[in-house]
Amino acid sequence: MNLRLNHLWLTAKADISESLRSKWFMIYATVFGGIIALLFAFGLTESRIMGFVGLSRLLITYIQLSMAILPIFILITTVRSVAGDRDAGVFEYLLSLPVSLSSWFWGKMVGRFTVVFLPVFLAMSGSIVWGLIQGMEIPWSLFLYYTAFLFALSWCFLGIGMLISTLARSPDVAQGSAFLVWLFLLLFLDLILLGVLIQQQVPVETVVAIALTNPLQVFRTASMLLFDPQLVLLGPSAYLILDHFGQFWYLIWAMLYPLLLGTVSATIGYLLFRRGDQL
């Protein structure tokens, strides 16, 4: 067991080393760091929306932008680099070393999670540090909730990305599939398809079930719930969710469900990876 953990850690470290030297990571880190820098530069902390000013306003905007770009960024970079490594012979060589497949797969997952979550988290933390230096009021509870949501969202889409990487045999197919998955989830966002479903008089239970199982929608509803408890900014399903769950339980769901979905997706990916050809 100790040896497996040691191998898992070694694989995670190797994956982190590989990622830190990759172009995709440079772009990824620059985008999220750049968003925070731009939000400060455009004086967002001094504007007001629905009574929110200062860092709360900035975090709310940051979380909305993250929802738009984080999932697709994680999906595309994960599937491209994993499928690309397999294509280029990296897997052939590294898997010829005596590392167990479970340590390898989960080590990659842990390593990759570190490099996709840390830039997002550090960019947000950077804004808090800057706020402290500037003597702004720090919205700690919003910061902690958003950290948890971003953690769950990153893990979720990383798990889905690892599953797609296992199923698709080439980088192009993997990338196309990842884009389709993201597009599919985007179509089932509250304001787009759910509105249509309700207009077409689809049963309420179906609409709520879709809203509860789409990780993008879960993240969106939960992040808005924190600053708009009446969900006036959201579409029809959010009202029902609020009635059924209540705020506290919905926030719990928003943290646990994406984690569970990511873990289940990655586990299916691992089982397929172990059972089939590794190359």
């Binding site: 280029a88 060589y93 010829s96």
Partner: protein, 284 residues
């Protein structure tokens, strides 16, 4: 040591290995030859447990799919194309030694013997090394740990003559305890390294023959070549073998590793009309 019984592997409808049965014993140095698509790489990947297959493969009684870690602890592998790893040389050594449960010292020692000075390279990304440096490092990782089977895909292709000689000497030290499987497109590249030749064609063994292995893997041959005139193309070829000229620019002197004699004669044969004398003798 290695037993394959009725091993088959298909990709969709294409059968790449077809009911392959083989026995390879300790001390066997096997040249695995065949044209592109013959099944060499697929066979190697099956041995490494990276592909599913039908039939049975066992290495010292263990199946590479079911006991992957135990089997791979016994195998040192050098791929034909170095993987484009972005991690640094130090990180690659640490990772390899870590998962193989051994020290990096022996790997570093082999690298040094092959003429690879690691000190200035530790922080450099593996993919930024030259072809020869990558090859030497991968060989060092494979030979710098205890194994009972070496699988190498054209291992000497990117090496200079001195490093080739060191590699042959290192292989000689391993040959008593280990089996070797050396894959190549051409037999003449590996002929003098092996004592058995297996040729694959469309996933089947079409030749399985023992060959003379009286060549001492660590031997050195002293050579003196004289040409009828100075020819730039010939000079370039001789420089590649590490040969030098003296006052007489038409006379070349140098040494070659014993197992490389066939390759060297192959090089000379391209300039046969230019040669006036060839002297090759075992170094004392």
């Amino acid at each position: 040591m290695i037993t394959l019984v009725g091993v088959s592997k298909s990709f969709k409808r294409t059968r790449v290995l077809n009911e392959l049965s083989l026995e390879i014993a300790a001390g066997d140095r096997v040249a695995l030859i065949g044209s592109n698509g013959a099944g060499k790489t697929t066979l190697i990947r099956c041995l490494l447990g990276e592909y599913q297959y039908s039939g049975t493969i066992s290495l010292n009684g263990e199946c590479p799919r079911e006991n992957r870690k135990t089997v791979l602890e016994q195998i040192g592998f050098v791929p034909q194309l170095p993987p484009p790893l972005k991690m640094s040389v130090q990180q690659l050594l640490n990772f390899s030694a870590g998962v193989c449960n051994c020290d990096t010292a022996e790997m570093e020692s082999v690298a040094t013997q092959l003429g690879l000075e690691l000190e200035p390279l530790y922080k450099r990304p593996f993919e930024k090394l030259s072809g020869g440096q990558k090859q030497k490092l991968l060989i060092a990782i494979a030979l710098g740990r205890p194994t009972s089977l070496l699988i190498m895909d054209e291992p000497a292709a990117n090496l200079d003559p001195e490093a080739r000689h060191t590699l042959f000497s290192l292989l000689e030290q391993k040959q008593e305890k280990s089996a070797m499987l050396i894959s190549s497109h051409r037999l003449d590249e590996v002929a003098s390294l092996v004592n058995r030749v297996i040729e694959l064609d469309r996933g089947e063994v079409v030749l399985d023959d023992r060959v003379d292995d009286s060549i001492d893997l660590s031997s050195i041959l002293q050579c003196t070549i004289t040409t009828i005139r100075v020819e730039p193309a010939f000079s370039k070829a001789m420089n590649g073998w590490g040969f030098t000229t003296g006052a007489n620019e038409a006379e070349w002197n140098g040494s070659i590793p014993g197992p490389d004699r066939l390759r060297f004669l192959g090089t000379l044969s391209r300039y046969a009309a230019l040669l006036s004398s060839v002297e090759i003798k075992e170094a004392a």
